[in-house]
Symmetry: D2
Subunit: 345 residues, 4 copies
């Protein structure tokens, strides 16, 4: 098998959005992302500590969807490795000229084996890093893109594919029968660059941005309340069991899910301990035991293929986390010796 | 009518608890309250900035209940005023000798017209104020008692009674028909010393303690998660619409509800604007629109009469907030032009 | 002696500033105060939780100075009491028509016995309270005016005068000879509405605004750094020993000193314990022992008389705090058994 | 030249301390580090998110000093690389058996070309990671070791040596003549694993631990105040210009300097921009312009050689940062067009 490209980290996402103005109000006016570039059809955004051209592109289009997820690779030569690697995997591969995406150099786009549109790139335009531009930081200042979270039907298969790309697992959720419900995998030494969440796929569950402190996340909630847009808050804020991160899930005007996230931990040593959570542990998704709303389990963004057409979904056949934890057939517990029926959570 | 006693503020509560050791683990080990005194039957507790003997008494007893709520009055002479005032109201009144409650001077106890056991006192033993004893402050340090919240069936009547005692309203919840669901009333210049919440009563909905910052409240959640007692978290954390306070509701081992609370505002000017919230406004109880759990609406602590017997309940006959906002017959909205049926909240 | 007016709290200050645009950049763009009104000569400002017309007025003028300090009184009738009270004290008194200061009703201005221009008012225009307008709150959001701090040569005399107005002492700084260096006095139940600081007077040492949390104060520092105006930071941030408040001292473009302050404590009970600090205790001014910069001791704003002329200064004849704690003749200690010479602090 | 070992990150320090009980009071009771092991002569400590046996060893000994700095390498084979690499450099090298330091596997110790005692190891005993043991986290909870800071006379030479080990520079301080005063270098993707600070060397300037949020650092100050040990606070808290981190410098009972640090930024991309600060920029060391205390520039811990004898010092011959910025011969500025003489800073 060919050598895999050396991925540094998750780097950017491109969303198709139906109303650029509504999206701008959310991403710029509420989340405070910095506009690197905007025109009639696109907005290129970055967070305060980022110096590459963008970590999020919003592109106007007819059907809200994920257009691409970008991973940065270590060297220009990794693009050739990526091309060979994916051709050997037998999936569609396209070489892109520098600037095909504004601000991004030469790139390789693929439809990966999980069905996601993935771009590998190394070169990107540098822009001002606003780390110390506190005059522009709002009360909910966001530092950087942190991770992607993907719905895919077969988590063990997806994990194996990502391990082939050099990602390692930090945490996962299983049951006593060995069914895997989700796995968190990383290249940069945080809990994840990508999470694989069992579900009909390929769909994008969410992308996540990091803040330094929790009050910045709380402010985003307060801000949405002031705008009478609290219904954009889907879940949280709370503390994850998995990753230990403090979290908030929002839905943008098209329903794309955005997580704001802080307080995970360093994973960079080669023997970083893997944590496996029992799917019935009621503190796995929320350390405080607050219930996960059903939409969080069931809804996600469709993804496009390299021609811009929506990918058909493959249904999950393994047990679904919501089914085994909530409702008449599910159960969960706060202490391992006590069980609560799913419909009582 | 007699002159009402000059109440300074809400001052202490006494709970009957079934297992003093379990209660101690919660109030001392988790909440970090300071033990002023403890013996086989009672624990007297205070928060870090309090210098009176206690703001919470836990007393071992057969049936968990509220034994008494204490209001501090400005002078010793206010005790005579209190006695005369309540005798004129025709309710049971008892004079108590100094020390009848450990640490409390002479007192007047009454069964107030709402059915609650209330004590008025002025003198109390002074103990060390731990404001700057940071060596003893945990990550969830609590500063002081903030307020009581009472279930009472007829909120306008209860409000009128408390106005007679010199309390003023800061905020309330009504509907367009004029039904009043709750009112917040104060003597000290915060949003409240007492909240009147429509429901079968007399029952104690909760007592609340204040912290300086929100991270202290978040730590209490994290701490309970670490102890695998996250099921003591009933609701929150969140931001109230009413009061603007950041909140968390816990249930102690006997089900007594404790709120941890911060960030309300100054109300001490005589023309402090009263805020009236529409019961259908989905941000009134949680500024972020997170759902109120049903138990928060329905469960509360019974209260004892002056002989220690549980008071019978009077049912609320006005509309109930939960019914008009949640479920098939209710509705709420995030923006006033948009309605969401109750079962969709 | 006449009855003193019933003062509710410190309410507003008016500063003469030399460059309204520079002042606006500081108070509006950095501190985030809300503009109630502005014209060519004045800016009227309030903090996010205030509903009276203003808590700070900036007025363009030739010589930077304090023009007036406003105290709010409980009723309109208190104005007559104020007039009689100060006439009996034999100082200059002026009655002012409603609107003489924009947004303020009828008022009584006096040159008080300490030499300060003081206004008593009850009526004021109500404006929107921005408590929950989180869309407008910056990362350094300020909630409300908290207190005034005055330089006056004879602190015991000044204390006696303020006790006549019904203020009570919460804390003070003395030495073992009984020399009083400063006293903190309040009407609203916080540590102070006014602090009396020994020094040549009458001069305004500073006015202070409150935030909810400490990170809001830290952001103001970061913001000034980003603007390359860190030299506006005179002292702090730090934790006061006196008051326990977390603090920051800034100097506005004319040198007027502004404190940003949070975390003091409730003082509203009649027996609130008075704390006396030893002037040689190195943690009295900064709980962490960080040195007080000399300018903080020596510089202050001149004050105007009722005709707008600068008041001459009366020199302090008692020992000066800086002299007894810093330099060759002073000393301080961290632990009471250890002494450090003043020049080593 | 031989291949350098693959260093993952800075991993642990060992201090010789004169009074183990006094050191324990500081590191365990105040800083809250977790005790992995202790006996009559040593205490092995770790922070809450660390799972290797220790990140700090305190060893009782006659002369307070740095005994060793440990770097973790990626594989056991890197130990052979390290041995060969340093033998080729001509410095003393010692192979150590597993357990020669409790909890550490086989190791290679060297006296590096800068004169520091350095240990390379891969294997270490795993212990419980207390990330979510919030029941044990105090208000000043520390997450992990972050970096070492070394005094060395010739910063460019030291930088070159560390570049040979694969470290990259994130930031440095220079003047317009090209004199280098300090450089920050990393392996893990933070601002640094090691900082090289110009001065007489080899000496240890400090080691630093990271927290998640700033309030945890502020609490450590409050805690020391409560213990009347505020004189252990040497500098800060403040915001660094370099690294953007929020910082605090403490001195342990033997004078070893400990930094508590948070809020730096991700540096893991290969083109991470290097920031060069002008030594005269008054915001380089403190973004808020607060003065650096002289002891911070001049004092540091001696280091031991492989036989445990103190290393002689080599004096810095380049200009010293304190001299060029403070005092009669120095100057600094807040804005680049304005200069302030050194003695006025």
């Amino acid at each position: 098998m060919s050598t895999a490209p050396d991925v540094i980290r998750c780097a950017y996402a491109e969303f198709v959005v139906s109303d650029l103005r509504a999206s701008r109000a959310f991403y710029v006016d509420v989340l405070g992302l910095v506009v690197t570039h905007e025109d009639a059809d696109t907005i290129h955004l970055r967070a305060f500590e980022e110096y590459l051209h963008h970590s999020l592109v919003l592109r106007r289009g007819p059907v809200p969807a994920l257009a691409v997820l970008g991973y940065r690779v270590r060297t220009p030569a990794d693009l050739d490795l990526a091309e060979a690697y994916y051709r050997e995997l037998g999936v569609r591969v396209r070489r892109r000229e520098p600037g095909a995406t504004l601000g991004i150099g030469e790139a390789v786009r693929v439809e990966d084996p999980l069905g996601f549109p993935i771009e590998f790139f190394h070169e990107a335009v540098h822009v001002e890093r606003f780390t110390q531009r506190y005059d522009t930081h709002g009360a909910g200042a966001i530092s950087r893109l942190d991770h992607f979270n993907l719905n895919t039907p077969d988590v063990p298969a997806a994990r194996k594919y990502y391990e082939g790309l050099g990602f390692r697992v930090s945490e996962d959720i299983q049951d006593s029968d060995g069914t895997v419900y989700a796995a968190w995998m990383f290249r940069k030494p945080t809990v994840h660059d990508v999470a694989l969440t069992g579900g009909d796929g390929p769909r994008l569950h969410h992308i996540a941005f990091a803040t330094h402190e929790r009050h910045q996340i709380l402010h985003i909630c307060d801000h949405l309340g002031a705008l009478r847009q609290s219904d954009m808050i889907e879940r949280g804020p709370g503390r994850h069991g998995v990753s230990n991160a403090f979290y908030l899930y929002l839905r943008d005007p098209d329903g794309h899910r955005i997580e704001i996230y802080t307080h995970d931990y360093y994973t960079g040593d080669p023997d970083n301990p893997v944590i496996t959570w029992d799917v019935h542990d009621n503190q796995r998704r929320d350390w405080w035991g607050n219930a996960v709303v059903p939409s969080w389990y069931t809804e996600a963004s469709p993804v496009l293929d390299l021609d811009g057409a929506p990918r058909p979904l493959v249904a999950r056949t393994d047990a679904r986390e919501m089914d085994v934890t909530i409702g008449a057939d599910g159960f969960s517990y706060t202490r391992s010796t006590e069980f609560k029926l799913g419909e009582q959570v």
